[in-house]
């Protein structure tokens, strides 16, 4: 069976979940908690707005000199024994990874949370080729058992209740029913500990890579990335090219900022800086470390001077957490690797404007995302520009005609006035067709009443008072 077109899938899922009150309640509660914990953390910054400015400028500098900083990263990482690979697209990245697994005769892979691997659909590929792949982040592990992608790129299974997770574990792992979060975590931990020990290859992403030192910075709350990077013999890190920051000192701002905006923590529990494989004088660590720098159309976004700042993104997920659309339709409705406002902005660049332009239309342009973004991405204005770009590329047939007619009518005060009058005369007839397929206002009237039309418009009032 072929999968539905992105637009049909979006409309179908968003419509269903918008009306699902249990789902809405769960999201509103979770995001309410997030807001409550974020606020004091943000207030702890000496000047949050200034911090945003500095972060945005640092990222802007990194992106505008990407050629310099990525090469500097490569040079410094290589100097400590890391092998740096460059992948232009998803196919190249997949090929590099599979070649490495083959070269090392690997059979099993343990992964910490890697959104870039979702982007290149790595798990499906490796499973098809017969490798055992296990997600070690609890949320990702749960989603893997469910056979679906992350629901939110920071909180992968936030849409599930404890009961649902318990049932899932019972079904797949044969464990007894429990609704205690600690017990649920312990169940996963018992399974995963075994996997760390037996895995041939560890697989991570990166929150930042540092040009100055050639280091990979990974932020996490569960310690699973540490175990992933500590036990297997071979490490592979798949990293988007926009993750580079110039200096190690930049992390002094970005780490607390990411924690604050992402989860409302002062700092995430574990912040690790990896300097490559085991050095000759060291007693532990992986024997090989491979870093794959992934473009996958990020340079297409880089080439757009208007929207380039979308590459500032540190994937904190704050824009999802405040987005009233996300809070009603949830993450899976988007049908993308990256959900919410940032997903709506970057997906058309990464995967094609015409297929994904509906995501920019599915926004009230309220601007809550832009206001909350720690690195000052002008998200909601980019959605507006995206709509313009999509039309410039390909006008909508019927919609294009409607706007032409609209512009014509609005420019003729006489027509505007006649239409106003006609609207008032024909209004009483509307109730006969209201809500039916004949109703031209059906999209409105299915859930809302049309406003009553007063006998006198403001223009009438003004004219009458002039006398």
């Amino acid at each position: 069976m072929s999968s539905p077109l992105p637009l049909s899938q979006f409309k179908r899922d968003a419509t269903r979940l918008s009306a699902d009150l249990t789902h809405r309640e769960r999201l509103q509660t979770a995001m309410g908690k997030y807001q409550a914990s974020r606020q004091p953390q943000q207030a702890a910054f000496h000047d949050w707005q200034q911090a945003r400015q500095v972060a945005a400028e640092t990222k802007w500098d990194a992106l505008n000199h990407l050629d310099v900083y990525l090469k500097e990263f490569e040079k410094n990482a290589t100097a400590r024994g890391t092998r740096v690979h460059w992948a232009s697209n998803s196919e190249q990245a997949r090929e590099i990874i599979v070649d490495l697994l083959k070269k090392h005769g690997a059979k099993s892979v343990i992964k910490s949370k890697v959104m870039t691997s979702e982007e290149i659909h790595l798990n499906a590929l490796l499973e098809k080729l017969g490798y055992s792949v296990v997600e070690s982040d609890l949320g990702e592990y749960i989603q893997q058992l469910r056979g679906e992608g992350p629901y939110h790129f920071v909180f992968p299974c936030m849409h599930l209740s404890r009961a649902e997770i318990s049932d899932l574990f019972t079904e797949h792992l044969g464990t007894a029913t429990t609704h205690d979060p600690e017990e649920l975590t312990m169940i996963a931990r018992r399974v995963l500990r075994e996997k760390y020990i037996t895995a041939d290859v560890g697989f991570t992403g990166a929150n930042f890579i540092v040009a100055e030192t050639g280091m990979i910075s990974i932020t996490e709350n569960e310690g699973n990335a540490r175990l992933t990077a500590a036990l297997p013999r071979v490490m592979i890190s798949l990293v988007g090219i926009e993750k580079v920051v110039p200096r190690l000192a930049d992390l002094a701002l970005f780490l607390p900022m990411l924690a604050t905006a992402g989860t409302g923590q002062p700092l995430t529990c574990y912040n690790s800086m990896y300097g490559g494989p085991r050095q000759p004088d060291e007693c532990d660590g992986p024997e090989e470390w491979h870093v794959i720098l992934l473009d996958n159309h990020r340079t297409r976004l880089l080439a757009d001077p208007e929207q380039r700042d979308a590459l500032h993104c540190i994937r904190c997920g704050a824009c999802l957490n405040v987005c009233p659309i996300f809070k009603n339709i949830g993450g899976h409705s988007y049908g993308t690797t990256y959900q919410g406002p940032i997903g709506a902005v970057i997906t058309p660049h990464l995967r094609g404007v015409q297929d994904w332009k509906h995501l920019s239309s599915a926004s009230s342009l309220c601007g809550a995302c832009t206001e909350t973004c720690p690195v000052k991405i002008d998200l909601h204005h980019h959605l507006l520009q995206q709509r313009r770009n999509a039309v410039a590329q390909k006008r909508g047939g019927l919609e294009g005609l409607l706007w032409k007619a609209f512009a014509f009518c609005m420019n003729q005060p006489v027509i505007y006035r006649t239409m106003t009058k006609m609207g008032r005369w024909t209004r009483p007839l509307h109730r006969w067709i209201q809500g039916s397929w004949l109703d031209p206002a059906r999209a409105w009237t299915r859930t809302r009443e049309l406003p009553p039309l007063p006998a006198e418009t403001f223009k009438d009032f003004w004219r009458n008072r002039k006398g």
Binding site: E371, N411, R446, P451
Partner: protein, 238 residues
């Protein structure tokens, strides 16, 4: 001061009493008003839909007609943002670029005009009721106008202001969004209405009638009886 009124189409057609209240109030404060009757729409609907050429066609007469105004007062945060913030974007690189910028500098959303330009907060209104505010997103975030409406309402005699939890959350109107994605828009409106109801307010007040149009329609359908008012209407109560 000579004030030029820009009355959005939805106020003209659906909520003319808001325009009337603005006229009466500004005249009460001693200002001379003019209203360019031939202007209809600011062009925001095609602009927000990506049809910028059509938007320019609608916006051009507005730009021309308002060129010589001393101050333009707009009865909605949304259309206010269109004239003040988005005209310069819409006409960037066009022959009208400079004119759009010049117009931007003298455009004011109604409540912002009273408080920030005229320095007026108290207009001698009385409204002995419990009121909650809905912040229209354009007024709130594009025009940075959270305070003016609050200052005006706080100065109204007898008015008890109670903030709702979701005051700054979008109501889900969003212009054409409300009909392109009606179910998402409706869900957002329901969240807003529930939050307003929690406050036990007798009225929901906003400086954007377009949001209220959507919320009113939703509440009329569900039978929620929370009356909605534009801030100008409250300021004319005595």
């Amino acid at each position: 001061m000579k004030v030029t009124l820009f009355v959005p189409c939805f106020i003209d057609l659906v909520s003319p009493q808001v325009g009337v209240a603005m006229v009466n109030l500004l005249e009460k404060l001693g200002h001379t008003l003019e209203y360019p009757e031939k202007l209809t729409c600011c062009g925001q609907p095609p602009f927000n839909s990506g049809y910028w050429e059509e938007a320019r066609r609608v916006a051009r007469p507005v730009l021309e007609r308002l060129q010589n105004a001393e101050a333009v007062v707009i009865g909605s945060g949304s259309c206010g943002a269109m004239l003040k913030k988005f005209y310069p974007d819409l006409f960037a690189g066009q022959p009208e670029a400079e004119a759009a910028q010049a117009l931007s500098d003298k455009c004011w959303e109604f409540s912002e005009f009273l408080v920030n330009k005229l320095g007026v907060t108290s207009v001698g209104a009385k409204f002995p009721h419990r009121v909650t505010i809905h912040d229209g997103c354009h007024g709130l975030r594009e025009l940075n106008g959270k305070q003016p409406i609050r200052k005006l309402l706080q100065a109204v005699e007898g008015l008890e202001l109670v903030e709702m939890k979701e005051a700054e959350t979008c109501c889900g109107f969003g212009g054409t969004f409300a009909t392109k994605f009606p179910m998402i828009s409706t869900a957002m409106g329901e969240v807003k209405c529930a939050s307003a109801a929690e406050t036990c307010a007798e009225f929901m007040v906003s400086n954007d009638s377009s949001c209220l149009l959507h919320l009113r329609g939703l509440m009329d359908r569900t039978g929620q009886s929370l009356p909605t008012r534009h801030v100008a209407e409250i300021l004319m109560c005595s």
